[in-house]
């Protein structure tokens, strides 16, 4: 059809032309907008460095859920503190969490995803020896370092892996401070032991037991129970029947709480009672056993809330700001997780690279680090050779450090003869 510019055809043509112009204008505007957006984004990207991503599996359900929550909090507090200091290498720290439901199978899946799918820069360890073992195998397969603070069972370090590093005191030595004090101050006598068959908890009790046996402290009782035990009355009854004055329990919450409840019901009151874990859970422990029953109960710990260790005060302040509560109520898992992050930050800052192989070599080089729990220096198998296990005790409703003596931190005098149940002063 021939174009005309007269009559109806003319007006249709001009309308057609006007529409074309409008479309062209819109298209140009759109193109300009896209181009501006892209260059703007590129400019922003150039201004903001890529964050450092760290993958962590935490137990938010299952047997370890109580400690898993505290572990997650510890890592989050570390990220907040680290980012307030400019992150690592000027890059913001971003944590990616997945819940493992306390399952060794799920923890493997989680770290597999972090490394192969999410392609995180680093990974940090989960809660417990039971989960650290399979997790560290996955990290090792992909040549990732696994720094952790809560998986110190001997079996983690006896597999010949070179990529796993524990910033906390090894499980084997956690009760040794208490055992050494017993040998120095008490006459050899029978001791009652009961422990969960956990790869972290049982070595704690077994090492203390062998140390004490070598110094004349005999066994009044030694019982091992499976992790899935829910009725602790026969175990508690067995301990009560020995009438032992010293009781060492390899328990985790809620086992430890149940044992104490059984002792209270039976009116069995050992002069010295130490639990591997449970009394370090702060307000949860006090609520579980009752405020009037805490007097004199001890627990090993790798951290003191009032310590002047590196960034410890900042960690406590940030924790309280984020989660409330008091310093005494902070779970021991928090500084353990926090310390793992601290060592990672120091090592990466020194190396100025996010290379995991270089990180591994540096951690094995004998370099020293500082943490909220004290000095960190890894020995050949990845354990922390610079850690000092403390012992804490509940006295008059307060959770105070009592051992070691002659240490760098101020400690309170240890209470030796516990009073009757229900008579905690100040409760």
């Amino acid at each position: 059809m021939k174009h005309t510019t007269s009559g109806l055809g003319a007006s249709r043509y001009s309308s057609y032309r006007r529409r074309n112009i409008l479309w062209a204008a819109a298209g140009t505007a759109l193109l300009l907008g896209i181009t501006t957006g892209i260059s703007g984004t590129a400019a922003s990207a150039a201004a903001k460095p890529k964050p450092i991503t760290i993958g962590i599996s935490v137990s938010l359900s299952g047997d370890f859920s109580g400690d898993g929550l505290a572990t997650e909090q510890g890592y989050k507090v570390w990220a907040a503190v680290q980012n307030s200091h400019g992150g690592i290498l000027g890059r913001r720290v971003v944590l990616k969490f997945l819940s493992d439901a306390s399952s060794p199978t799920q923890v493997v899946t989680n770290y597999q995803k972090f490394i192969t799918s999410d392609k995180v820069d680093f990974v940090l360890g989960p809660y417990s020896t039971k989960l650290t073992k399979p997790a560290s195998l996955i990290a090792n397969r992909y040549r990732y370092v696994m720094l952790e603070g809560i998986g110190g069972g001997p079996s983690v370090f006896s597999r010949g892996l070179k990529n796993v590093f524990d910033v906390s005191a090894s499980a084997t030595y956690q009760l040794v401070t208490f055992a050494q004090w017993l040998v120095k101050t008490q006459k050899p006598q029978p001791v009652a032991y009961a422990t969960m068959d956990d790869p972290f908890i049982q070595p704690m009790v077994d090492f203390a037991r062998s140390y004490l046996k070598a110094h004349g402290f005999t066994d009044a009782l030694y019982k091992v129970y499976p992790a899935e035990t829910s009725d602790f009355s026969p175990i508690a009854s067995s301990i009560e029947a020995t009438n032992a004055k010293i009781v060492i329990l390899g328990t985790m919450p809620p086992d430890g709480y149940a044992m104490i409840q059984n002792f209270v019901q039976a009116k069995y009151n050992p002069e010295m009672l130490i639990e591997a874990s449970g009394p370090d859970q702060g307000s949860e422990f006090v609520k579980a056993v009752g405020a009037t029953n805490t007097q004199g109960i001890m627990v090993p710990n790798t951290w003191i809330a009032a310590s002047k260790n590196y960034q410890n005060a900042e960690m406590v302040k940030t924790y309280i700001k984020m989660y409330g509560g008091t310093a005494d109520a902070i779970s021991a898992d928090v500084p353990e997780a926090f310390s793992a992050g601290q060592v990672l930050a120091q090592a990466v800052s020194h190396l100025k690279t996010v290379s995991n192989p270089k990180l591994q070599a540096y951690l094995h080089s004998g370099a020293s680090f500082q943490s909220a729990q004290g000095p960190v220096k890894f020995i050949a198998d990845g354990e922390n050779g610079g850690a000092t296990p403390y012992v804490f005790q509940w006295q008059k409703g307060k959770y105070v450090p009592v051992l070691p003596l002659n240490g760098a931190d101020k400690v309170t005098k240890i209470l030796v003869n516990r009073p009757d149940w229900g008579t905690t002063p100040g409760a």
């Binding site: 047997d63 129970y225 009725d231 009355s233 026969p234 067995s238 919450p253 809620p254 609520k287």
Partner: protein, 290 residues
């Protein structure tokens, strides 16, 4: 004396495990479904009693007047809206449905209460009586008495009431029961309601004797299933006998030998019993006539 104490504790603790298992076995007997959510429902009952104890300052046993009717209604609702509509592959689909209910309950509880351990407290929780050299923890004695009373009541309902006749007829042959005019849907709904109401009571007792969180259901479900299998599906008396038997065996082995082998000895006995009596100690052969 240690063995006598272990037997005593096995009986006392076995009592309330029997109560929790009774609901499970009844539900299977009437509806042929395994209430896989029983562990989560017990923990839900524990949390409800805990919340009432904390916020309303009511005694845990008194809280049952609130939690038991609530959870009974929940049980009826679960049947009516989730189980009744299932028309095909009922056994498998209902198992999956109850698993989903369990997962949902656990997730909601975790979000509401977080994963820290809690325990229900009362002034008498740590009290005990000493009789003849044996220690009787008061809370276990009260729980056992309550469990025995409720199991007796359940027996009366099952064998002395019209509803009980309908329930037994539905267990024996649901098709025939429908043919004679029994509303098996109504019977099933009430049975599930009773089962979950009993879970509320079991939960309160569990919560006073154990620190718990949302994940505490896993250990419970495995033990309760074993109790029901040994006692015989559908047999409340069987659940009582097998619960006490299981706990006594475990406790005696724990004190005489080691706790590590307590469960193993029990499971060995379970296998031997099932080889001789596959229907369990008190289960009936051919309970389903169709």
């Amino acid at each position: 004396m240690l063995i006598a104490q272990a037997v005593l504790e096995g009986i006392l603790v076995g009592g309330f495990y029997a109560l929790m298992a009774a609901g499970l076995t009844l539900v299977f007997g009437v509806m042929d479904i395994v209430n896989f959510a029983i562990g989560a429902l017990i923990v839900l009952g524990a949390y409800l009693s805990y919340a009432i104890n904390i916020h309303l300052h009511l005694d845990p046993f008194v809280s049952l007047f609130i939690t038991t009717p609530l959870m009974t209604v929940l049980g009826v609702a679960i049947y009516w809206f989730l189980i009744k509509p299932i028309k095909t592959d009922r056994v498998v689909m209902s198992l999956l449905t109850m698993f989903a209910v369990a997962t949902l309950i656990e997730g909601v509880l975790d979000l509401t209460f977080n994963s820290g351990f809690v325990q229900i407290h009362a002034s008498y929780i740590n009290n005990s009586m000493k009789i003849g050299g044996l220690n009787f923890p008061l809370v276990y004695v009260l729980s056992f008495l309550l469990s025995a009373f409720l199991l007796g009541l359940l027996y009366l309902v099952t064998y002395r009431t019209k509803f009980g006749r309908s329930l037994r007829a539905s267990m024996q042959n649901p098709v025939a029961a429908r043919l004679v005019g029994i509303n098996t849907d109504k019977v099933s709904a009430i049975t599930l309601g009773i089962g979950i109401g009993l879970a509320a009571i079991g939960g309160m007792i569990f919560g006073t004797t154990n620190a718990f969180n949302a994940s505490s259901s896993y250990d419970l479900i495995s033990r309760l299933l074993v109790i029901v299998i040994l006692g015989g599906f559908g047999s409340v008396g069987g659940a009582l006998v097998s619960a006490i038997f299981m706990l006594v065996i475990e406790d005696v082995v724990a004190v005489v030998w080691t706790p590590v082998w307590g469960s193993t000895v029990f499971y060995t006995i379970l296998i031997v019993v099932l080889l001789v009596r596959p229907q369990g100690l008190f289960g009936k052969k051919g309970v389903r006539a169709q």
